[in-house]
Amino acid sequence: MAEEVNTFDKLLNDLALKIMMVDPGDLSVVGDLILDLENLDSTPDITAKFPNLKQMALDLRVALGKIVMTDIDDSAENFDIVGQCIGLMEEVYRKDDNDPESLASFNNLLSTLSSSSTAPENLKDSPSEEQTDNPPAQSPAPADSTPATEAPDKPVILDTKPESLDFMEDMELLSGFIEETREHLDSIEVNILDLEDNPGDMEIINNIFRPFHTIKGVSGFLNLTNIQALAHSTENLLDDVRNNIRAMDESVIEVVLKVGDCLKLMIDNLQDTIDNGAESYKNYDIANYIRWVKGVQGAETTTEPATATPAADSAAPAQAQESAPSAVTPPPTTAPPSSPPPKSSPAPPAPPNTAAKPKTKAKKVGATIKVDVDKLDGLVNAVGELVIMQTMVRANPHITAIADPKLNKDFGQLFRITSELQKTSMSMRMVPIRQTFQKMIRLVRDLSKKTGKQANLVMEGEETEIDRNMVDSIYDPLVHMMRNSVDHGVQMPEERERLGKPSYGTVSLRAYQKGGYMVIEIEDDGQGLNTEKIKRKALERGLIQESDNLSDHDLNNLVFLPGFSTADQITDVSGRGVGMDVVKKAVEKLRGKVDVMSEPGKGSIFTIRLPLTLAIIDGIIVQVGTERYIIPTIAIRESFRPRREDYKTIKGQGETLLVRGNLIPIIRLYKYFQIEAKCTDPCEAIVVVVESEGKQRAIMVDELLGKQEVVIKNLGGITDITGVAGGTILGDGRVGLILDLAGLVTAKMNYNLDLPAAVSKDSPAIEEVTEPENTADSEKTTEPEQIS
C-alpha cells in the first residue's frame, strides 16, 4: 500500500515538474508527460482507490496526444491548462476525492483546451517576435513576402526519414562533436548576453564568431548539412558585424540567440539519434532561419548603404559565403583593426573606440583535461580508504605502544599528506556553479520580455564550487525559483514607480560557501510574500489552526507545502497550480534545505542550502545495542534525555514526547530494526529529534558517539530497505548504516510496544531488572543451538 501511494506521489510530482519546464514547441516533454500518465494509469490499484484519477489520466493523455498530433496547438496557454489539470489531479490525489464533480470540472478544463485549437494563426500580424505565439505547426515556410526580420518558429520537422545518415558512421567523432557543440552554444549564449551590455566590444563578438565557425567546420566535416548551413549563415552575419559592415544591434542578438536555440534542438536530436537509432533522426527545415539570418544581415546596415548586400536576397550572402571561411582573422586581442577584411567591402574602418577597448574580459582559464567520471570516483574511494586505513594503523595497540618520536613525526607527516590528497581528490569532482548561473541570464531576460516586467539579474559568487553530480539536479529548482521571483516578486514597472522604487527590479543570485554548505540565495526587491494571504489559505486548507502561534517567518515558509500557490492569476510563467513544494522536494533529495525570508513591500530572499558534495555526509554517530548508525546532521533538531513528565503514551500504543508544546512521536529504533538495545526506557535513553519532509520524530538511541564526516556507499546490491539510506566505513573499519530519515518518518511503526504497564512511574526499576535477564536468556538459548 505504502509503496503504491509513493508511486502515485512520485508520478504526480514528476508530472508537475515537467509541465513547469515545458516550452511551447517542445514536444519531447509532452512525450514524457504521456509516458508518465501511462505509468500512472497502469499502476495497480488505481482503479480501486482513485477511479477519478484514472479517468483524469486517461483524458489528459488523449488531450496530450492531440497536442502531439497538432490537433491542438502547443501554445503556452494550452500548457497552462494542462498544468491546471495536473494541479487538479494532485488535489484529487491528496484529498482522496472521488467526487464526480471534480471529474466534471476537470473535463471542463480539458474542453477549454480543445476549443482553443481553433484559435486563428495570428503570427503574421502579431508584432511580437516571440516564439510563444501559436505557431502554425506544420505550415510551409513563409513566402518571400514575409518580413525578413520576423523570427521563424521552432524549426519545422520536414520528415523523420533520414535522407542520409552517413555521419552516423563515426559515433565517437559525432558524440565528441555533440558535446563540444553544446559547450560552444552555451558560451555563445553567455557571450551574446554579455554583448547586450557592452555592444561593440570586439573581443566578445569574436568570442561568438569563433564557436560558430568551429561548429560550421566540424559539422561540414561530418556531413551534417543542416547544421552546417545554419552555422554558416550566422557566421557570415557575425563576420559582417565584426568587419563593421553591420552594426551589432538588438535584431542581431535576437537572431543569434534563436539560432542557438535551433542548433541546440538539432544537437539534442542528434544525441537522440545516437541513443535510439536512426529512426529518431529528424530532418529539420531550417530555411526559415537562414532566410531570417540573411534578412537581418541585409537589413539596415548602419555604417554605409551596403552595396555588397543588395536586397535581402540570397545572391549576395551566397557570394559572401564563398570568401567567409577564409576570413578567419586571428583574434584581434590587442591590435586595432589593422587590415581591412579580405572581402572587398565598402565598410569604413571600424571606429577606433570599438576595437581599441582593451577590456580584458577574458577570464583566466587554466589548462584542463577531461577525465572519466568513474576513474575519478575510483580515486576518491581509494583515497577515502587510505585515510581510514591510516587511522586503523595508528590506533593499533602495537603501534601506540611504541614511544618513538621519529615514528610520531612520520605519522604526522603521513597524516598531512593523506588529508591533502583527500582534499584534492574531493575538489576534482567540484565544478564552479557559473554555468548553471549563466543559464539564468537568458531565463531572466526572456521572462522579463514575456511578463512585461523589467528585471536586472545580479550574480555573485559564480566561482563557488559544487559537486558535479549536483549541477543537473539543482538546475530545475533554480529555474522555478527564478521564475517565481520575476513573475510574482518583481512588480510591473508602473507599480514600482508608484511605490517609489526604480522601475527596474533587481533579482540577485548569490552563491557562497558557509560552514560545510553551499548556499544559493535568490533575492528580489519586489513585493514580498503576502503573509496574510498565506495564513488565510493555510487556515482554509486546514494546514494550521487559528490557535497556532506562528511567526511571520513560519507562515511564509508554508509556501513550501504541497498545493500552495497564492497567485490569483495563473500566468504563463509560474503559478500553474504547482508550487514551491516541488522545489523543496528536489532540494531535499540533495539533502539540502530551502527557506524564505520576506519583508512585505521590500522583497523576499529564498535560500537554498546544499551539502558541498553528495559523496560525503555530515553525520552524528549513534549507538543502539551493538550497532552504530549515522544520522545526517542536517536533519537533527536537538537531542537530549527526556524527562519522565514529558513522556506520554497514546492509548498505550503510540508514544510521544512533549517538546516545547509539540507532541513528537517516538521511534524505538531497536524495535523497528529488530535488534537488542541497552536502553528500552525512553527516559534512560537519548532521543534525537529529527525533521524530514516537515514531520518531526524522536529517535531513541542508547548514546551519541560523536560527529563525523562519512563517505556514503551503497550496500553492494541490497536496496529498498526502509530506514536505511546506505552504508559507510567507520573509523574502525566496520560498516555503519546511514539512516534514511525520510523513510523512517513515513514508515509504519507497527512493532509491538507491550509496555503500557511497564512504563509507569515505578517501572524503570522493573525494566532494568528484566532487561539484562532478557539478553542473558537469549544468549543462553541461542548458543547451544548454534553449536548443535
Partner: protein
Amino acid sequence: MAAEQTAVADSTENGLGGKYLTFSLGSEEYGVEIMKIREIIGIMEITAVPHTPEYIKGVINLRGRVIPVLELRLRFNMATRKYDDRTCIIVVEVNGPSGPIMIGMLVDSVSEVINIDSAEIEPPPEFGTPTESENILGMGKIKGEVKILLDVDKIVGAGVLEHLEASA
C-alpha cells in the same frame, strides 16, 4: 598436459567440467566454479541490516567496498552453527541488475580446489520438488565422494537482494 587437454575438450561438452572450489556445510561438500570466486576471507564483524531475510547476515567492509554477506546454511534452511576459526567468507562475483556485484557467502570451512571432468558430473537428482534442485548445477563425483556443484548466480544473484522487504 594431455590430461589437461582432455579436460578442456570435456568441458566444452556440457560446459560444466573445470576447476571448482569445494567447501563444507556440516557433513555435505559443495563446489563453486573457480571463475566466480574473487577471494576468500576469514570471518569478520558483520553489520546487520534490518528488515532483511534471516540468511542475509549483513554487510562487511571489503577493502572499502560494502558487500552483503549471506549465510549459506540459512539460505539452504539448515541450522546455523557457531562461527569458529575455520569459518570463511567466500566472496563471489555474480550478475546483479546493473552490472556485476560482489557477495560474500558464509561457509563452515573451505576445503580445496579440484578439477572435475564433465564426465564426472551428473545432473542433479530429482526430489520431486523442483525448487530444491534448481540452484544446483550438477553432482560431481570424485573418489567416491559427492560434491554438490552450486549455481551461485541463482543462489546469491539477481533478485535475491532486491525488494527484500517485500519478501522478508
